[in-house]
């Protein structure tokens, strides 16, 4: 009996002692953290996608709280609304960004871009691009093995089995930029999101000379420069046999779409054109 009491006393005494020790250590090494960091983290979407440039939402919320000027920080997933609420909570000026969306700049579907060989290796664009130019005559276009889709945290990118090209679900796309980084061919670009999902862009990244590009793909940009000439806003530049539409200057007049002889400039989300005469009158002029 006596030994039992001794045991209980020793063990509970030891427990109390260690608890005290732990308490003192915790006091001594306590890290003062701004409680707002936790609160801001809760306000962020919690996707941990890295679209802001930080490893996760925690890093972002730390930066938001600690920095005085947060104009360079932006969460593409939360968007303007999220940033506004965070900024008002912290009493700082809200950073503003245009809403963006990922755009796949290649229209080299199986029908447009005939295959010249077959890739048999690892199902990864990164591996394929390290080995060779691709299954078609175009050495710039989409490889279709889906590195972008695999990297998308928001289920917004899928390879269309019919065309073999990735398609962006604009509703789901948060413009985090993970696909842009994942694509070894640098086909995907973040462009300004316009109302009603309207988009105009050059759906090609082929820098080869016109004749070579045309041979490889039916809808390749051949760098003829017609679009640049017709653009009233000087939004189009042609460099290295490739046209590019600057979305900050483009006013979506759609003149270039009609002008492009290859159909490499594409438009989305517009109502159907009024009459078919438009391109014809352009021809007669």
């Amino acid at each position: 009996m006596g030994s039992l009491i001794t045991t209980v006393l020793v063990v509970s005494g030891l427990g109390a002692l260690l608890a005290l020790l732990l308490y003192l250590i915790a006091k001594k090494f306590n890290v003062e953290e701004d409680p707002r960091i936790d609160q801001v983290e809760k306000m962020l979407p919690g996707a941990n996608c890295g679209g802001c440039g930080f490893a996760g939402c925690r890093g972002m919320s730390e930066a938001l709280v600690k920095r005085d000027d947060i104009s360079s920080l932006y969460c593409p997933v939360g968007g303007a609304e999220c940033m506004k609420s965070v900024a008002s909570f912290l009493g700082k000026a809200a950073p503003e960004r245009e809403p963006m969306v990922a755009v796949v700049r290649c229209a080299g579907s199986c029908a447009n871009r005939p295959k010249t060989n077959q890739f048999d290796g690892a199902k990864s664009c990164l591996v394929a691009s390290s080995l060779y130019a691709g299954e078609t005559g175009c050495s710039f276009g989409c490889l279709g093995l889906g590195d972008c889709a695999a990297k998308c945290e928001f289920d917004a990118l899928h390879i269309n089995p019919e065309t073999g090209l990735p398609e962006v679900d604009e509703e789901k796309c948060t413009a985090c930029g993970a696909c842009v980084k994942a694509c070894p061919k640098m086909i995907i670009e973040l462009r300004k999101k316009a109302p009603k999902g309207r988009k105009i862009y050059v759906s090609c990244v082929n820098k080869a000379k016109g004749a070579v590009a045309r041979k490889a793909c039916k809808v390749a940009c051949i760098g003829c420069g017609k679009c640049a000439k017709v653009c009233p806003f000087e939004a189009i530049t042609v460099e290295n046999n490739l046209a590019y539409i600057d979305f900050t200057k483009c006013k979506m007049c759609r003149k270039c779409v009609v002008e492009c002889p290859m159909g490499a400039i594409v438009e989305f989300g517009f109502p159907p054109r009024k009459v078919v005469e438009e391109p014809q009158s352009a021809k007669t002029e």
Partner: protein, 444 residues
């Protein structure tokens, strides 16, 4: 019999198809496309323009830096284009295209068959000559030879090793050179030895080429400094570090170069090119290419002008019917060709035509941790781990696991029972780690 200490595999050597075929001179094609980057290092800079007339052996592009190489015209005719052309992998590379007219050679090139034995040049003159003639490593890596021969200050070469291993299955180009041009090859080796100031030459040959060993041993009897070293057949014995280990027993430490253990390694083809450049004043404008395959009507060893389209060689050797895959080089380290119109370059040791059945990859499984790749790796690395780390983008760990030492021999992929494309991933990780290491050393 000597061999290297760790790793390695034993693929079937498949040399029987083309080993009996004598080196044939391939006819000059109608047009040649000569890429400006046929070597490791900076691309050469074109010094001819569209419309210029060129002669065989005339310089058409000059080295774009120290680690670079001159390029000479392999034909006579008119330059029709200086612009990017698709290479064997379909990527656009700056090239010079020449339409062939006749076969007029530039002056000063000795085209006779007489064997010139005496070389009265100083080491520096020899290295300069080799640089001027655009000689690069012809085993496939295409490292500019004059750079390898320029021994850095404070280091000393002790021996020259001629790489006559040709451990790649199928290829017989070096083997035929040894049998048919043995005398010239030995003189080339002696020129190389003189350039780096050594008096010991080893020629490492695998024992699956007994007639080459016997032939060269007989010829080498005339030269005291040359020793023929028969080696036990094992892939990748032709890797520089493996060959040094096999012949001298010395191990090149991680991150160091062969010269750090006193060895300079040169390929058989390079030694022959050096002989022709120094003794005959002939630039590197043609090379021996093995065109082979198990179903080919007539596998051949062809002496081909640089820039000849591969499709011409394929046609000459029996056509593309039933062929599923064309590989430039051997099956282990060669690269699949997606554009057959691409030219033969200084590094094209072979064109291998694989029938569809042989060429198909098997379906990938999962890693079963059997460690066969670890056993096979001749550099003592852990390929399964490097492959996984690459897929996780963990570059710090990759560097810590010595991915930069990978020689890309493909033993890991060959040995994997789950058919994992280990090397494909390791290569990507290695490229990224090497880039980071370079950036770091530049910052310092």
């Amino acid at each position: 019999m000597k061999t290297f200490p760790i790793g390695g595999i034993h693929p079937s050597d498949c040399k029987e198809y083309s080993k009996g075929a004598k080196i044939e001179r391939f006819p000059v094609p109608a047009t040649v496309t000569i890429p400006l980057s046929q070597h490791i290092g900076a691309p050469a800079v074109a010094c001819v323009a569209k419309g210029d007339k060129v002669l065989v052996g005339q310089i058409i592009a000059t080295a774009g830096g120290f680690v670079s190489s001159n390029i000479h015209s392999s034909v006579s005719g008119t330059v029709v284009a200086v612009e990017p052309k698709a290479d064997a992998q379909g990527n656009m590379k700056p090239s010079i295209t020449i339409a062939v007219e006749g076969d007029e050679w530039a002056e000063g090139i000795d085209r006779t068959d007489t064997v010139v034995k005496a070389i009265n040049m100083s080491p520096k003159e020899i290295v300069d000559k080799i640089a001027a003639m655009g000689i690069v490593g012809m085993g496939g890596a295409t490292f500019p030879t004059h750079v390898k021969l320029s021994v850095p200050d404070g280091k000393k070469a002790e021996c020259l090793i001629i790489n006559a291993v040709e451990c790649e299955p199928y290829l017989t180009a070096d083997y035929r050179v040894m049998l048919e041009q043995g005398e010239r090859l030995l003189i080339g080796a002696r020129i190389l030895a003189k350039a780096i100031g050594v008096d010991k030459i080893y020629i490492g040959i695998e024992n699956n080429k007994p007639d080459a060993i016997a032939h060269l041993t007989k010829l080498a009897g005339a030269y005291l400094e040359i020793e023929i070293v028969p080696l036990k057949m094992r892939y990748p014995q032709g890797g520089e570090k493996q060959l040094i280990a096999a012949v001298t027993g010395r191990e090149v430490p991680s991150g160091k170069l062969p010269i750090d253990v006193g060895a300079v390694v040169q390929n058989v083809g390079t030694a022959l090119a050096v002989y022709e450049a120094v003794a005959k004043n002939k630039p590197l404008i043609e090379r021996v290419v093995t065109v082979t395959g198990s179903t080919l009507a007539s596998p051949k060893n062809l002496l081909v002008r640089i820039g000849t389209p591969m499709s011409a060689l394929v046609e000459y050797s029996g056509g593309i019917d039933g062929i599923g895959k064309v590989i430039a080089g051997g099956p282990m380290m060669g690269r699949a060709v997606s554009n057959l119109d691409a030219p033969v370059t200084k590094g094209t040791s072979g064109v291998l035509l694989m029938p569809t059945q042989e060429s198909l990859r098997k379906a990938e499984g999962s890693c079963i941790r059997c460690a066969k790749c670890v056993e096979a790796c001749p550099m003592g690395l852990e390929p399964y781990l490097l492959s996984a780390l690459t897929q996780q983008n963990d570059y710090d760990q990759l560097e810590a696991h010595y991915i930069a030492d990978c020689i890309e021999c493909g033993c890991c992929t060959f040995s994997c029972p789950s058919y994992l494309p280990l090397l494909d991933w390791v290569r990507i990780g290695k490229a990224e780690v090497m880039k980071r290491m370079r950036e770091r050393s530049q910052k310092k």
